[in-house]
Symmetry: C2
Subunit: 714 residues, 2 copies
């Protein structure tokens, strides 16, 4: 899975001009290097290696068979990746963890009208004429990871996107979901949140479908004619409550090694990140007869989707029988780990990862990223063969069971928590290539780093990646503006590309939000209507995403340059000035929200003072970073500690696994980042006491970081 | 037909507080009366008469059979209305005009794919199970009034709403409509404009359909389950170029009396208001197979409708054969005219009208208005029987052939142009009741008059009409605001109801825009998805619009009070202060537009000075109106002359029938009003020379009116 949240706040980096070099070709100088010319040569040597054709072959091999986590085919891909790592000269191992996971034994969803007439007998198998992959017997029936078994017959209530405001609207209409099956469409939040709120409100079960308004013909032509979701396409997915904690349900905070005894595990069936009501995903082909038969009030206008009839809220007119038999078990999963020891600072790890497991074939999600990673490994292998060695240790991780809840990455991160507490970066890619539009999310300290890297990498269609990225963002921007001309806003003035905040939905979560490793997430997007369906396969990919694999090559190059720069830079290029400014903006926005929602008793002054202190110290540190001291080891250690200082060991209320005070996935959004989450979520809950406590914890964290920055500046 | 354009500019009436009385019950004093108490008694006597049950019976009688203009059934309704007029004591006559009109002899629209396979063989008859009216053999096949016959086979291009910006987008896509059949959906402008632009661009023909996104299930449940357009429902309508001139094609500016010889007529087939390419309306049931088969590029996202597939622009994939055999002839039409001579100022006519002809049954459009008018007549008849007589002459007009192009009203107005040059008001109602939400358009001088009238009339559901109107507007407003929360605009601050500007689409057009008679148009709206279809019948009406006819009663009361006040007031209650302010706003907006679109050479200073002069004089006149001179005849004459002064005898460029310098239907919008049209349309055409000339003509008109106001103020 991946969902990259693009920050709506547009903060201009104060360092943009200084840090970035020329806009085309190799930069003359790059922040962190006394002399960039040696690195520039290495970069050029690297950039020549990643190969489009090879990436295509790797993608084809990886996606030859369905390879859900824990399956034999998944293990085969682990062996394949390990072989590639070894061939490149990496110190390679396959690390096994034990994960509590379900596979669908039997999934039945049937709908009947008031007279017992069968309206739908599903699930209808995913199929389109002309797809060579959809009929493979190894394709796993669409289901929800982490859904319990359940046999429920109930009336249906349609809840739009299943967001808090949608359930609130049902309250306004006087419609209860208690004992009902909630039918909700994908979009607006993480699917697990839909189930979480439905469970809080006493629903008997949840069905989630893809409405063609959001994900289907309303967007454009359906596969195989176009890239959009066909009628029978289903979005599988985990409904794990990952906003509580990701990874194996029985071992929050601890690695789920094969030998960890049951006595040291939670009962996974009742663990806090496990839903307690059954849920399952269906296609719009199967949702249509239910929605068409539903009675009750007409929906609020914005709840209407693109199926060809007027939607009703229910209940009434139709009963649904969900019979889900899940096969839950501890299953082995396999992370492939490849190391290149660093010569100068071997304990300063640069970790780069991508997951390998897929709901079905996963051509886009995740193996477009895997193929790109393999070509980055290929390039770095060529450097190794030429005698080059990194100053810091590079570690590649091919994670397993990401789809079930970031399990492979989370368990490995928990397993290596001590070493990771001083890892200098985690670079993620999940959906490497779904289309031509490069996109990134990052912690503020690495936003400018990503921009600098993309200026050095040639773009698939000429120029550099940065310029192509900027162009695609400004075209998207003007499309949005032309659709909103009545707003009377001027053209967007931001002269730099926007980089999103890290929420959740991919493997950076344990690194940044649990352990405080500065992280980025990169990928390339486009019209992608087969997410988590059988149709996300090689045939779809070469028809729609990247027929000649040139974006694969581009992605491999950006990923590789991120790693090389971070492994070899003298002074770590974290930009804490931007970080300080963003924290200040978050605080001001939260203060405004608290005022507007009349949540009193929150004194933002100490936190704002701390942020001011942080920013001032960051400016001083920045000058020191620029001065490039001869022996930067102590400075680097302090620079790295700043992100760690922003963790609170107590964690967030009710979800203590999440330790970062600035970023977390939203409890009620799931994928999208909530900034200064402890404070903002307390304000949303109108809980002044909790808000005050969280504001104190946040202030302490900012002050810790500011002190470290001050020490570093000395 | 009717489409009421609600002004987006919100001009607070300076007179609002002064002119209006208390918000409930009969007002204590009303502007124009030295003592309102006598009038208040007459009003109360009147208000007691209009009867909901009788209105329902009248509606049922009027809509018992399809009664298209010129048919025997139409003549029957004329006799019925005349009988009602006579029974009320009106001096009644049936006035016959001769109108060049088409009826469909044969209408065929078929679609075939590249292999000649028939995809659609239409038109499919309008039908739903459960409707008692749709199978009557007298129902006229759906067709376009004023469309020529034509036999065209061509490829298809989809042009969204057929607005200028849509055809511009086709240019951008490199797609020509030359020789093609343009398929366009209803909405965004008057259907005649769609054909007009397509003709300008060399299209071979036009097909217009109702997309369910705009008019069908995307809005709510289809009839008979709900009020919205069912699959087979077709919107008939005239494509006459009414923005050139309305009325009989052969007699612009002249009454088409039965004895007017051919030698004094234009050749109607080639007259300027007659389309030269064939066009026909179809249902979304019949449009779907064409759109589904269309190839070419995917549509721009905002062109996608609610049919269940991705739309393409074409051409390609499908050919359409339109074979339209129209039966054009001069046919007799029948206006019913009922007069009540005025005692004091018999030459000062108060005209009130509604059309009677319908495309099919016309329960909403127009006979909900006819029933309301008959109950207003009923009430005024009761006053007459009690001995009351109006001071000014009241004339009721039951117009014919409005649907074909405002023919009955236009011919009668042209016939009575001399007398109407000093008529004090024309009050229109077309769609009297489509639902519960009262709505009005008016010239600025009568906006406050309408507000005052509605404050006196009890609302169907309690309180007064004004308050109910305000409530429904503010609810609509907050719905719009809650859908646009991201705009960050505060709640709407306008403390008064908005009243729209008069564009076109109903019978006020000849009165205000050709002759300068101050006009209003009132009605009541609601979810109305059967416009111009067979389903706009008595069954739909009692299920959806007004089951107990209480809104019919309300409408009769408002219409009647408008007439009574205008007939009996001492000083005419025109509000020229508001008029002056609105003209100033129009000028400022046009100046801004000219600047932004870089149309130079337009000096707005003289026009703005004239408007300032107008407003200052209006303020002085207003004081005089308030002082209620003992013999107001001269003042009234001057007050009335002001609207006439705003006419330009030269008329608008290329459409000289339209004489009003402040309001006209837009040449490229058709229904919606364009303000200061000569100037604004020249700016849109980037024609500086024309703009300058129009600005001069406008300035002269405003100065004429200002001088008259100054004389009146003396």
């Amino acid at each position: 899975m991946t969902r990259r949240a693009l920050a709506s706040s547009l903060c201009l980096s104060a360092l943009a001009v200084t840090l970035s070099a020329q806009n085309t070709g190799a930069p003359q100088s790059v922040f962190g290097y006394p002399d960039f010319s040696a690195q520039a040569k290495i970069d050029q040597q690297f950039l020549a290696v990643p190969d489009a054709k090879l990436a295509g072959e790797e993608l084809k091999t990886l996606t030859a068979a369905p390879h859900i986590a824990g399956s034999k085919e998944d293990h085969d891909t682990a062996l394949y990746v390990a072989e590639k790592f070894k061939a490149a000269g990496l110190d390679t191992s396959i690390v096994t963890y034990k994960a509590w996971m379900n596979l669908p034994k039997e999934i039945h969803v049937t709908a009947t009208d008031a007279n017992g007439k069968v309206l739908m007998n599903g699930p209808t198998p995913e199929h389109v004429d002309g797809d060579p992959f959809d009929d493979d017997p190894r394709v796993v029936t669409a289901f929800n990871g982490s859904s319990p078994s359940g046999d429920v017959t109930a009336e249906v209530v349609y809840a739009n996107y299943g967001r808090p405001e949608d359930f609130k609207k049902l309250d306004d209409l006087g419609i209860s979901v208690k004992g009902k099956i909630v039918l909700t469409r994908y979009g607006g939040n993480f699917r697990g949140v839909k189930v979480y709120i439905a469970q809080e409100r006493g629903a008997a079960g949840v069905i989630i479908y893809s409405d063609p308004a959001d994900d289907g013909y309303f967007k454009g032509d359906k596969y195989p004619k176009g890239p959009y979701r066909p009628d029978t396409g289903v979005q599988r997915g985990a409904v794990q409550y990952l906003f509580k904690y990701p990874g194996d349900a029985s071992t929050p905070g601890t690695a789920s090694t094969p030998d960890l005894p049951e006595s040291q595990r939670l009962n996974p069936a009742t663990a806090p990140n496990m839903p307690q009501i059954p849920s399952t995903p269906i296609s719009y082909h199967d949702a249509a007869p239910i929605l068409a038969a539903l009675t009750g009030p007409n929906v609020p206008h914005e709840w209407q989707g693109a199926l060809p009839f007027a939607y009703h809220v229910g209940p009434g007119g139709v009963k649904v029988h969900m019979d889900l038999k899940q096969d839950f078990a501890y299953r082995d999963i396999w992370d492939v780990i490849g190391k290149i020891p660093g010569t100068d600072w071997p304990d300063d790890w640069v970790v780069a990862g991508n997951h390998r497991d897929a709901w079905v074939y996963g051509a886009v999600d995740p193996n477009s990223g895997t193929a790109a990673m393999l070509e980055a490994v290929h390039g770095i292998g060529a450097l190794l063969k030429s005698g080059w060695k990194p100053k810091r240790t590079i570690i590649f991780g091919s994670w397993d069971a990401e789809e079930e809840g970031l399990i492979g990455s989370t368990e490995w991160a928990e397993d290596n928590a001590a070493a990771l507490s001083h890892a200098v970066a985690y670079f993620n890619t999940d959906v490497g290539v779904a289309g031509p539009n490069f996109d990134a999310s990052a912690v503020p300290s690495l936003k400018e780093f990503v921009r600098v890297v993309t200026k050095e990498v040639p773009a698939a269609k000429g120029g550099n990646v940065y310029d192509a990225w900027k162009k695609s963002q400004s075209e998207g921007e003007s499309r949005r503006h032309s659709a909103n001309e009545h707003l009377g806003q001027g053209a967007h003035q931001n002269p730099d590309v926007e980089i999103g905040d890290l929420g959740s939905g991919s493997d950076y979560t344990p690194f940044i939000q649990h352990l405080g490793v500065p992280s980025t997430d990169i990928g390339s997007s486009g019209p992608y209507g087969v997410y988590h369906s059988v149709f996300d396969n090689y045939n779809w990919f070469i028809k729609n995403a990247d027929p000649t694999f040139i974006y694969e090559q581009q992605q491999a190059r950006v990923f590789g340059i991120e790693i090389l720069h971070m492994a070899d830079t003298d002074v770590l290029p974290y930009d804490y000035v931007t970080y300080g400014k963003e924290i200040t903006e978050y605080l001001e926005a939260a203060k405004k929200k608290a005022d507007e929602s009349k949540v009193t008793g929150l004194d933002f002054a100490p936190a704002l003072a701390a942020a001011k202190h942080f920013t001032a110290a960051a400016e001083a540190v920045y000058k020191k970073q620029q001065s490039l001291p001869a022996n930067p080891a102590d400075l680097n250690t302090q620079l790295r500690q700043v992100e760690g200082d922003l963790l609170s060991q107590a964690g967030l209320p009710n979800r203590t696994w999440y330790k970062h005070t600035i970023y977390a996935p939203g409890e009620y959004t799931g994928y999208a980042a909530v900034v200064i989450p402890g404070v903002n979520e307390a304000i949303d809950a109108k809980d002044s006491a909790r808000g005050a406590a969280q504001l104190t914890a946040l202030t302490e964290a900012i002050n810790r970081a500011a002190s470290t920055l001050e020490t570093a500046a000395k």
